[in-house]
Symmetry: C2
Subunit: 153 residues, 2 copies
């Protein structure tokens, strides 16, 4: 049985999904039930300094239109706001609202908590090794947000 090689991607994904689901379950409990797994990465990509739709698309590896649509949703939910750039009338600066910043901070905290749970189960040293090994193996590749289209047909 060569299921050895198959175990690895499976477990990587299950681990990923458990962490993401864990964060969003807690966020939902704290008043943010509308947030989807995708949104966490968008928040992260926007950051505290804000960006533009085009730049966001670049960071996430999707088209500017896709990034724009996602921002539309986040804006409707009140996590993001667009302002015009006084220096450049073409650009619209996208910034997190207070509510958005709160989520970003909370997400980081919850991720840390979940990481601590992992550390408690396998030991902090093993977890550090695991992280280090993943970085070594995967290199500098960035996160791509086009998961739906990538995964599906």
């Amino acid at each position: 049985m060569s299921s050895d090689g198959f175990l690895l991607p499976l477990r990587l994904f299950v681990g990923f999904r458990q962490l993401i689901d864990g964060v969003h379950a807690e966020l939902a409990r704290e008043g943010h039930p509308e947030l989807r797994p995708l949104h966490g990465f968008v928040f992260q990509a926007i950051g505290l300094d804000g960006t533009t739709a085009v730049e966001l698309g670049r960071r996430l590896g999707v088209s500017k239109q896709a990034a724009g649509k996602t921002l539309d949703g986040l804006e409707r939910l009140g996590y993001v706001e667009r302002t015009t750039d006084p220096q450049d009338a073409r650009r619209k600066l996208v910034k997190l609202t207070d509510r958005g910043v709160q989520v970003l901070i909370r997400s980081a905290q919850i991720f840390d908590e979940l990481r601590a749970e992992w550390a408690a189960r396998i030991g902090p040293d093993r977890l550090s090794e695991l992280e280090q090994d993943l970085v070594t193996v995967t290199g500098a590749e960035a996160f791509r947000l086009d998961v739906p289209g990538w995964f599906g047909s």
Copy 2:
């Protein structure tokens, strides 16, 4: 900077994606360019014994309709065939064609090869530990195929 906790899910996903992309790049090179990341898991779930659409949906954590649609695509591509069950006229048995079985076997081989590359980079012991730790942490949770809907809004 609490990016520690955020590093973990990111790297898990990047690793997952690199493995999946690696397999499908190679499969594409070998005459299966139409296959999508999703399909590998479907093949695995169908297995050498075959199943039905409903059962497939159960295994993958999606509705029977979604499973049926995916099978439609795979059938059109010639990787799967449906036959009627002589014991039960309601059921349609889904089995991999020869071409489908080939892909399943090749996928396993390529996963093993990619795993070997990882082992070469971080050492076989560290890789085994990594796998073991992931299993310990993630438990018995199954793979869910509803990634597009799960991830997106």
